[in-house]
């Protein structure tokens, strides 16, 4: 094997690519060649490094120097100064508050993270199975197939206390146990990769940056529950993810890690990709199953649950990407190792896509139980431009808001539930005082109205009613009683909708009313948007040309 003195890890995650990462990489490659360094410096195209706002990014080892916001013209300087003379280029380094951070481990954004799920992201080349294997990849699968009975695998997952990372936090081991106990020849494993929360891309990052960890998790699950086949249901809007997963499947088959008689163990299991056409509701497990079956993507009544009658009416295990990605770590390092991270009832880590009004946005993985304050101020570097923290929206269109008074709340399933929000799949949007809470609620509700499948009355008919009220409130036409109407309708929608989408659709509204009622009141009573976001001119008073219609007053 060839030995290089320097490895230049260039991020090839979707964000860095769309920011021009490929052009930089080509320029770098050309400069390395013209400097005659091709046998000394190796370029490694890795998956996502997380701090996507700083892309295109590159980390140079052995030093661990982090370069950010790279353009092709930077390549010559880096090669000349850093690779030839050993002097890292300061002006391209990660800096915050005027201070440069020479290495990755010193940067606060990375220092407080714990990477289990994203352990290989930004480190290995996702299109090279050997790099995954070199980093302990498929060791867990080997362990399972050579030394564990299926029931022992289920027990290990149970012991780990892992909870489903798709949103609801159901105990993964329990779910595996249900499916394993079903007496059926045909069982299926499905990976829900239909990530649809606006602005969230946790799953996409794993698919793009470390597809084998998902495959390994699914194969282990297949062995544990006695399944014959797995499906990865991924949105068609993730072409790079689809490409890399397809390549990973091909490589895994070629290496005898997938298909018939895996690792000569007698266990056979294969995985196929199914692409979704972009309906948010297809992230709901039974709607997803319908979609794989070629039916209209809308939820089924439950029971029966997928664990007894799922895909093609057979027992089906369905977990999301992040859940499966935890599995190889738990099996390889043991449930005890996993339980040491996080809290007693919410062990392990959670990946979030940190967005909104925060200095450093990007993909982060943190131990559960971390406080929101640590995420916002230590990892995210605080609120930009001297503004102050107002609230955090967690859980996307199904979630709720965490206000400033709960900044020290521990990010775990129970604590979030206690203030009316949910962990969700990992959307985390930070807001400062320039964000209008009514406007935010309206944004998410509009999303749900558009994504409702239309099957049950409360979600189909109720959410547009709530949206209509919010539209009135934010255009200066709010009326007394609107808040109560929103609360009542929202409550009924959550209590009588058929699926999770409907049951959580009103969360953003109910949660913002709970913590920011004064903002609603100010919109309704004073016709004023405290954050000056909403256009409060009553529409009814204007005609098409924007001219005021005169209203005759009765003397």
């Amino acid at each position: 094997m060839k030995i290089f003195r320097t490895h230049a890890l260039v991020c090839s995650g979707a964000q860095c690519l769309s920011a021009g990462g490929n052009n930089f990489k080509d320029a770098l490659s050309a400069e390395i060649n013209s400097a005659g360094l091709q046998d000394e410096v190796q370029i490694v195209e890795t998956g996502c490094m997380g701090s996507c706002e700083m892309g295109p990014m590159m980390v140079v080892y052995p030093e661990g120097t982090v370069y950010i916001k790279l353009v092709p013209s930077d390549a010559a300087e880096i090669v000349k100064e850093h690779f030839l003379k050993g002097r890292p280029v300061k002006r391209l380094m990660w800096n915050a508050s005027g201070k440069e951070f020479p290495t990755l481990s010193e940067i606060p954004f990375f220092a407080k993270q714990t990477k289990l799920v994203l352990r290989n992201c930004g480190i290995i080349n996702p299109e090279n199975i050997e790099e995954y294997i070199a980093n302990d990849g498929y060791l867990a699968l080997g362990k399972v197939l050579t030394s564990m009975k299926p029931q022992e695998v289920v027990d290990e997952i149970k012991k780990s206390g892992l909870r489903g990372r798709g949103g609801a936090g159901f105990l993964t081991g329990l779910k595996w146990g249900y499916v394993a106990s079903q007496q059926s020849g045909d069982k299926y494993v499905i990976c829900n990769a239909d990530e649809g929360d606006p602005g969230a891309y946790m799953d996409r990052s794993v698919l793009e940056s470390d597809p084998h960890t998902l495959l390994e998790g699914m194969i282990i699950a297949g062995y544990a529950v006695g399944a014959i086949k797995g499906y990865i249901y991924v949105r068609a809007e993730y072409p790079l993810a689809v490409k890399r997963v397809a390549l990973a499947l091909k490589h895994a088959r070629a290496f005898g890690l997938l298909g018939s008689n895996i690792l000569n163990s007698g266990f056979s299991f294969d995985i196929a990709i199914r692409m979704g056409a972009g309906a948010f509701v297809c992230g709901e497990e039974t709607a997803l199953i319908n979609s794989i079956e070629g039916k209209r993507g809308e939820p089924r009544k439950k029971p029966p649950y997928p664990s007894t009658a799922g895909l093609f009416d057979k027992p089906t295990l369905i977990n999301n990407v992040e859940t499966f990605a935890n599995v190889p770590v738990i099996i390889h390092k043991g449930a005890q190792f996993f339980k040491k991270i996080g809290t007693a009832t919410s062990p392990g880590t959670k990946v979030f896509s940190l967005a909104g009004k925060v200095n450093t946005t990007g993909l982060i993985e943190v131990p559960l139980g971390i406080t929101l304050r640590e995420i916002v101020f230590d990892i995210g570097g605080g609120i930009p431009e001297g503004h102050s923290f107002k609230g955090a929206l967690i859980g996307g269109p199904s979630g709720g808001v965490v206000p400033a008074e709960h900044l020290d709340i521990a990010i775990d399933y129970e604590s979030l539930d206690s203030i009316g929000t949910i962990m969700g799949s990992g959307g985390l949007i930070i807001m400062d005082e320039t964000s209008c809470m009514v406007d935010i609620a309206k944004f998410f509700l509009k999303f749900t109205v558009e994504e409702s499948c239309g099957k049950c009355t409360p979600c189909r008919e109720g959410t547009p009613q709530m949206l209509k009220i919010l539209q009135r409130i934010t255009s200066g036409e709010g009326m007394p009683g609107d808040i109560e109407n929103l609360e009542r309708t929202g409550r009924i929608i959550s209590r009588t909708s058929l699926c999770g989408l409907g049951q959580s659709a009103s969360n953003p509204v109910l949660s913002t009313i709970r913590f920011f009622k004064n903002e609603y009141e100010s919109h309704i009573n004073e016709k004023k948007c405290p954050s000056s976001v909403c256009d409060m001119k009553p529409k009814a008073m204007e005609n098409k040309n924007g001219k005021k219609i005169r209203v005759r007053k009765i003397a």
């Binding site: 009544k301 409360p458 547009p464 049951q503």
Partner: protein, 596 residues
């Protein structure tokens, strides 16, 4: 109750009961006198829980549970009338009303609308919600049988499920999503341009005015008012067993005489009976069967009375249309005979004659519009009497049982207290065999009564053929006729028809003769019959109507088609013999391969 079934203890509103564990909350509550309101639910057919009306509170569950699809469990504590249950039901109903038109006074489903009844039961005074639908949907009038107004649709999906599960036609499905969802046909082509068989079972189960028959009431009133028009009416056998329901009489009340009297008072010049032409159908179809037996024709032969069934086979099994009897349906035979034989007899210009049918059926409206059904026109043209180039149809208007009742009501006729009157002669005379055409198995039984006697020359002792009566989906019998065993099968409901047709397709059908009717129960369960959606899933209503039909058969002096004196006269004076040249032109037809 199944003896193996476990019972569990549940509490309903604080009271403890031991219940069969297989019950839903809805059934459990109903068994102790608590009727939980439902809207989308149709037992065994529509069980998706979409409407959210039947919600109840179950202890330990945060969300409310749908009573219609939730099974009871041991120690379940159910509450059916708490403030939160009432609030949720009312809110969901109000949400449905928000986008529903408020033109109930002029809606044709007004009196039978489940949504309106529910609003009344809940004592709702208003919906707190505004209309959110920005643009109204287009009304689908592409079908000659069924009108679909998506604006009135509450997306309960009963129609979709009936079309899919009971009929296996799948002409309609949900299109679009969220608040743009609508029940539609493939590519929104409209019911008239897809594989819809016009059976109208969707119309029967629709809880609102979203699905109705295409009405021809006004057209018929207009014809009745024309002095130079000779407007006659024929009534299908099934109508007499059900039209009483429209006037508050119990289901299964036979009202033949009152129906005749009422129609006469509405203004029809003559009130005739489709049973007359049902007898005629038996003469032709029985002869056709014997002809096929003697000439080694295509077997099994399948009946052709039910227009929903005919359109079904034309779409889904076009290669099997050679199995169909070439006989027209009794409705069409009537029209052809009325505008030729009868018009000639009376010396009436057939162009002045208007033939109205009262049918339990929505598909008959489509059938009457088939371009090939202008045999009377062709007859007169050939004779040289009529030199027009504009053809006229054998049947002018088809009204459903429901439309007929509406006319009687509008005409101010006191239906309940009318004295019985008889049908007019000659096209009003019928045998008991003609009556039972209304029930599944009836056409077959009628055919056997005649075929047996024509072949053996002996009198058939036992007329009732029990093995092909009743509501089993597929019924079979072996009939011995002069030493030859004729194997017969009867199917009703198009999903059952599929089973027999697939057997034929695979070359495994053992039968000589098959009767198929599109609707469950046969014509008595037709899509034009009085609304009673709450009885749809059960068999009681169909059984009651069917027994009224058998009652009329038993009371008839003549119970075999070939013994009907007027039929004999028709052959003697006009047609000649069954399958003769005139019969061929007037009473037989061809089918169209439609495909899908």
């Amino acid at each position: 109750m199944d003896v193996n079934m476990q019972t569990v203890e549940v509490k309903i509103n604080g009271q403890s009961y031991n219940m069969n564990e297989d019950m839903t909350i809805l059934e459990a509550c109903e068994s102790v006198g608590i009727k939980i309101p439902t809207l989308c639910y149709l037992k065994g057919i529509c069980e998706e829980g979409s409407c959210g009306i039947c919600v109840v509170e179950v202890k330990k569950f945060k969300a409310l549970r749908r009573a219609c699809i939730t099974k009871i469990m041991a120690d379940m504590e159910i509450f059916t009338n708490t403030p939160s249950v009432r609030e949720a039901r009312r809110t969901n109903l109000e949400l449905l009303l928000a986008n529903h038109p408020k033109d109930c006074l002029v809606c044709s489903k007004s009196a039978s609308c489940d949504l309106r009844k529910l609003t009344e039961d809940f004592g709702l005074k208003e919906s707190r919600f505004e209309k959110t639908r920005a643009k109204d949907f287009e009304i689908d009038i592409s079908s000659p049988s069924i009108v679909r107004d998506p604006n009135k649709c509450i997306l309960c999906r009963r129609c979709v499920e009936v079309c899919s599960k009971v009929q296996k036609v799948n002409a309609i499905c949900i299109a679009n999503r969220g608040s743009n969802s609508t029940v539609s046909t493939s590519f929104e082509k409209g019911l008239g341009n897809v594989e819809c068989t016009n059976c109208g079972q969707c119309v029967l189960v629709c809880p609102t005015g979203a699905l109705t028959e295409k009405e021809y009431i006004e057209d018929v009133w207009k014809e009745l008012a024309e002095p130079e028009k000779f407007v006659i009416v024929q009534t299908a056998p099934a109508v007499r067993a059900s039209i009483g329901e429209e006037f508050g009489l119990p289901a299964g009340t036979l009202v033949t005489g009152r129906m005749v009297a009422a129609l006469r008072r509405v203004g029809f010049k003559k009130v005739f009976d489709t049973q007359f032409s049902a007898d005629l159908t038996i003469m032709e179809e029985g002869s056709e069967l014997l002809h096929r037996l003697n000439s080694k024709g295509v077997f099994p032969m399948i009946t052709s009375c039910s227009p929903g069934w005919i359109k079904f086979i034309e779409h889904f099994y076009p290669d099997l249309i050679g199995h169909l009897s070439s006989c027209k349906s009794p409705q069409q035979m009537f029209g052809a005979v009325a505008k030729t034989y009868y018009a000639e007899k009376l010396g009436i210009d057939p162009r002045k004659m208007v033939v109205v049918s009262i049918m339990p059926c929505t598909a008959k409206k489509f059938e009457a519009r088939r371009p090939e059904f202008d045999s009377a026109f062709n007859y007169w043209q050939e004779k040289g009497t009529i030199k027009d180039i504009t053809a006229f149809s054998d049947i002018d208007y088809v009204l459903t049982t429901r439309e007929a009742a509406k006319m009687i009501k509008e005409g101010g006729i006191d239906f309940i207290h009318l004295k019985d009157e008889d049908f007019d002669a000659p096209l009003g005379m019928s045998s008991g065999a003609g009556v039972i055409f209304a029930n599944t198995g009836g056409v077959m039984e009628a055919a056997i009564r005649t075929a047996y006697e024509l072949v053996t020359g002996k009198s058939l002792e036992k007329l009732e053929c029990k093995s092909i009566r009743g509501l089993d989906g597929i019924k079979t019998a072996d009939i011995d006729i002069a030493g030859t065993t004729i194997k017969v099968a009867v199917a009703h409901g198009l999903s059952n028809a599929r089973i027999l047709l697939d057997e034929i397709k695979e070359g495994k059908s053992p039968y000589h003769f098959i009767e198929i009717m599109a609707c469950p129960g046969g014509c008595i369960g037709g899509g034009g019959q009085p609304y009673n959606a709450s009885e749809y899933s059960g068999t009681e209503l169909r059984k009651k109507r069917a027994s009224a039909i058998y009652k009329e058969d038993e009371g008839k002096k003549v119970r075999k088609s070939h013994e009907n004196e007027e039929i004999k006269a028709l052959y003697k004076e006009f047609l000649g013999k069954p399958l003769g040249e005139k019969s061929h032109k007037l009473l037989h037809t061809k089918y169209t391969k439609r495909g899908i």
